[in-house]
């Protein structure tokens, strides 16, 4: 621990000196306006399927900044693997890299992310509030959000009308010939399961998702969500534990009418359903006390980060900002079907609705809770999985629900304190 502090201190000192050095050269370059001799080498990481786009965007960045000579090295590291690869050896990592927002907390506490010091207000204003929140730790911005991601519902238009998909209870009540499963989702996956608890109004890790001692899934709202889940898994028309593979197979053979998953399955489901392909936000559910609530969900973002040990922080920040600007988010949306975080683009309903899945995602994102990025959030998944499996196995009844929820919350929190 001590060693880490020392090394991160020296790293900060080093970057600090480099930063000032760089700043002064940049200024002098501006003053003489002829810094074309400066060669800046930046390493950029992106996923393999995004490489051609990344190259295009970096080249346009170089073209837009002709006063410096930019040389780019590209590495293949997907957003999901960024934390693992970077923390292995920060100094060998990329200057600019994409990562998933649930890694923000750990990357910041490991001192791997460069605090955004350039154009911060502009970036905050350009992107949606939840996405900025997911890149912020203790009031400081550490990244540039560019993709928003959550789950929503795909359905078969020939089996449900647009009104029916608004309510889960209506959907489950309907008898559809040839369809065995009216609604399916991966019950024991905490990511999906949370939608019921969040929908009922529960909070994981406090109001802003940063309080590691708070989880109120066992209060009376959590009880209502739990009771609904007990009834749901008993319903023969509900498909418990449908993971991606089962969902796609179900849409392909017509045994599923609606299912909860994300944009990564859009192409396959569209191919299976053809003209009947449709996507929308999650339905609402009617709790036992008669209240109708909209299902929530966990939202994730993809964020461009700058390496804390980069040798060219100003250029790296400029590049990260460029990669996440309006124009490049349009490219991501139009050519890769990635949902934007840019405010202007996210509110451009006309443009977004050309892509059913992205439109549904944008709709659902308004109801979703930002997936917390505090390092301890890793301790949520296992208890959630255990609870889901207990539900499916029928081990949870109304009589022992309170007890089971208490245990659920206790294991989420106790795992935290033992960290």
């Amino acid at each position: 621990m001590k060693k880490r502090i020392i090394s991160s201190l020296t790293a900060m000192l080093l970057t600090g000196t480099i930063f000032t050095a760089c700043g002064s050269t940049a200024e002098s370059g501006d003053a003489s306006s002829a810094g074309s001799g400066d060669t800046v080498t930046l390493t950029v990481w992106g996923s393999q399927e995004g490489q051609p786009f990344l190259k295009r965007m970096c080249e346009s960045f170089a073209a837009a900044n002709p006063d410096k000579n930019y040389v780019f090295n590209y590495g293949v590291v997907s957003e999901a693997d960024a934390k693992k690869e970077l923390l292995k050896d920060v100094s060998a990592g990329a200057d600019v890299f994409g990562f998933a927002s649930d890694q923000t907390g750990e990357l910041v506490s490991a001192g791997a992310l460069y605090r955004v010091t350039k154009n911060k207000d502009q970036i905050v204003a350009n992107n949606t509030a939840p996405s900025i929140q997911s890149a912020t730790v203790d009031g400081e911005l550490y990244g540039y959000p560019y993709v928003s991601d959550t789950y929503f519902m795909y359905y078969d238009k020939s089996k449900f009308t647009e009104e029916e998909v608004l309510s889960l209870d209506t959907m489950l009540a309907k008898d559809i010939p040839g369809t065995t499963t009216n609604f399916a989702f991966d019950t024991d996956n905490g990511w999906y399961q949370s939608s019921f608890f969040f929908g009922a109004g529960c909070k994981l890790f406090g109001d802003d998702g940063t309080d590691p001692t708070m989880c109120d899934f066992n209060n009376d709202r959590g009880m209502l969500a739990g009771e609904y889940l007990i009834d749901l898994v008993k319903n023969p028309k509900y498909g418990a534990n449908f993971d991606d593979g089962l969902i796609k197979a179900g849409f392909a053979d017509g045994s599923i009418a609606a299912a909860v998953t994300g944009t990564w399955n859009a192409t396959d489901i569209q191919a299976s359903l053809g003209d009947n392909y449709a996507a929308t936000k999650l339905p609402s559910i009617k709790l036992l006390n008669g209240e109708e609530v909209q299902l929530g969900g966990m939202a994730n973002f993809k964020i461009m980060g700058v390496n804390a040990e980069t040798k060219n922080p100003l250029d790296a920040m400029a590049l990260a900002e460029w990669l996440t600007n309006y124009d490049n988010q349009v490219i991501n949306f139009e050519e890769r079907s990635l949902a934007p975080t840019n405010v202007e683009l996210a509110n451009d309903t006309e443009k977004l609705y050309s892509n059913a899945a992205v439109a549904a995602l944008a709709q659902q994102a308004q109801h979703a809770t930002v997936q917390t990025s505090i390092p301890q959030c890793g301790n949520y998944w296992t208890p959630a999985e255990a609870f889901g499996q207990d539900l499916i196995a029928g081990n949870i009844t109304r009589d022992n629900l309170q007890e089971k929820l208490d245990k659920y919350v206790e294991s989420v929190l106790s795992a935290l304190t033992s960290e």
Partner: protein
């Protein structure tokens, strides 16, 4: 008496029949996943899960696409990367293992016993414990930009500890042969190459097999070394990427095809060396 023996045989038959049926069932259970992977690799319809066992359509396109397309997954490149690493480190480590075994079996020097004990204890620690340290050493030596060289180096460098079985085998060879050679003026290396090795075919085969297998199927070490060098991935690392949620749907059948292709070199090696293999494993254990 006659009847009694008859019922005895009947009983024996029943027991044997039961055992046969049990073995048949176990055999089917064991072979089923293999058949399933092979069937999946020829399946026409994509997707990771199907509700039926027998594919609706058959195609070789999974193999063709896997080998020819390198937009997303560079299977062919990874395959030859792995083959190169495996073959070179197999040759290197076989030589080292045999030489170490020979030294520890035939030569007498002061630190022999302590060295063997140290090696035994070191061998008990799982390899991945030192991986991060190895990573930084390689980084310090500026090798990291070329992960394949790193992998080969590390696999060869770690080989010496695997001497037990080969040493056990060398111990069974009569010392009189060596002594006769020494009397005729042979050097130690001549004894090793001209006397010991020709007599040790089974154990050489065994060493070749194990030292080829290890790099061929290793996942953990390449995952630390390769990092962002996509072109230098090994096949195990690359194929694991195919199972990420974005790709599993479209690439699952290709993944199965890859799994079949990956097993071909190992299977070929085993089949060609099979008859020595059992001899090697048991031969080394006689006086281990």
């Amino acid at each position: 008496m006659k009847e009694k023996s008859k019922s005895y045989y009947g009983q024996q038959k029943a027991v044997n029949g039961f055992i046969q049926v049990l073995l048949l069932v176990l055999g089917i259970i064991w072979i089923l996943p293999l058949c399933w992977v092979i069937l999946t690799s020829f399946r026409e319809e994509p997707g990771s899960y199907t509700s039926y066992f027998w594919p609706k359509g058959f195609t070789v396109n999974n193999y063709v696409n896997l080998i020819t397309q390198d937009q997303q997954f560079k299977f062919t490149k990874w395959f030859f990367n792995t083959l190169l690493v495996s073959v070179i480190s197999c040759l290197g480590s076989t030589l080292i293992v045999l030489a170490v075994s020979f030294a520890l079996s035939r030569l007498r020097f002061k630190m022999r016993k302590p060295l063997m004990n140290v090696a035994l204890i070191l061998g008990m620690f799982p390899g991945f414990m030192s991986m991060i340290a190895v990573y930084y050493i390689l980084k310090g030596m500026n090798f990291l930009s070329n992960p394949l060289v790193c992998l080969t180096l590390v696999y060869i460098a770690g080989a010496g500890l695997q001497y037990y079985i080969a040493k056990g085998f060398f111990d069974t060879l009569p010392k009189a042969l060596d002594e006769a050679a020494y009397l005729d003026g042979a050097t130690k290396s001549q004894v090793f190459f001209k006397i010991t090795l020709p007599l040790s075919k089974p154990i050489i085969v065994y060493t070749i097999l194990t030292s080829f297998m290890a790099p061929w199927v290793d996942y953990i070490f390449p995952s630390i070394i390769c990092g962002s060098e996509y072109d230098s991935y090994t096949v195990a690392l690359g194929m694991f990427k195919m199972l990420e949620r974005e790709f599993i749907g479209a690439y699952y059948t290709q993944f199965a095809a890859g799994a079949v292709l990956v097993s071909i070199p190992i299977a070929a090696l085993f089949i060609s060396m099979q008859k020595y293999y059992v001899e090697g494993v048991t031969g080394g254990a006689v006086k281990g």
